[in-house]
Symmetry: C2
Subunit: 142 residues, 2 copies
DNA sequence: TGTAAAATGGAACACAGTTCCAAATTGAAT
DNA sequence: ATTCAATTTGGAACTGTGTTCCATTTTACA
């Protein structure tokens, strides 16, 4: 039968706490595994992934994929509420991932919904291209 | 010493030919492996990846990553010149990848360049979200 | 304290992609 | 035609991310 209270999932809390402590940054599952191992409180990979899935389902974390090479990144949802819903810009040259917090985002989302019936998930979307620095560099190239 | 002519890399030509025959579509490395196996001209995985890398380097193919789950997709570069520059929309639910050919794209690119000094590579960028069908479905869910 | 539900994590797997290396193919010089 | 080194090929094994399966441990509560 269903329990009235939740089980004491201290590991899940610990994971959430760790991610919360990483202000304004992205963490991968592998980094979490490594962190708890280095703290002598190792948590199995399976458990990490399970908790991350649940935390994302519960809306406490956000998951997004930056590319197909490194794995998914996680960020504490509260961090995302204090800042806006935002997209990410990834520079193809230097690899830097920058947050994009811009009111034009709403226009973009409105456009895709109205004209293409497509509901954009901004948090999961990464725009690829060249950052200011790297597009400057390419002008200097021989 | 350096050869004056290239070796006859018939497999590379065959791969390029195959991808060229797939009009306006995306092909993964795995699909290429499968295709040549089914044609009774199997090509090893290693060789496929090697040639794909070279073809991309030579500008004959374009590679882009649609998500972290399925692998990279390849498309013949000429196809991309005949059709418009476009983005892709990927539905998180059904996984469908649709081409987006829309003049608003220019506005979006202009915005990012003007306001964020970021040169968007539309071809490599995939917008995630829900397609018309799947966002309809989620309303029906219990 | 007993018990069922829930949590945990190791082993094995799936998949994309890479590295290593030995064998086969090639172009051209002899 | 024969030889030979550069090049091409592909199998085996590996990396890294993530998942599935399942036996063990922990938990809440009666």
């Amino acid at each position: 039968m269903a329990r009235s209270t939740n089980y004491n999932t201290r590991q899940r809390d610990a994971i959430l706490e760790y991610i919360t402590s990483i202000k304004d940054a992205h963490v991968t599952a592998a980094q979490i595994v490594e962190y708890f191992a280095s703290e002598n409180k190792p948590i199995g990979r399976t458990t990490i992934y399970r908790h991350l899935d649940k935390l994302v389902d519960d809306g406490k974390l956000r998951r997004y994929v930056t590319d197909g090479i490194s794995g998914a990144c996680y960020q504490h949802a509260a961090d995302l509420e204090t800042c806006h819903v935002h997209m990410h810009l990834k520079c193809e040259d230097c690899g830097e991932l920058q947050h994009l917090d811009c009111e034009a985002l709403d226009d973009i989302r409105d456009h895709f919904l109205a004209k293409h019936s497509f509901t954009v998930n901004a948090m999961k979307t990464v725009l690829y291209g060249k950052c200011a620095n790297c597009s400057k560099d390419s002008h200097d190239a021989p």
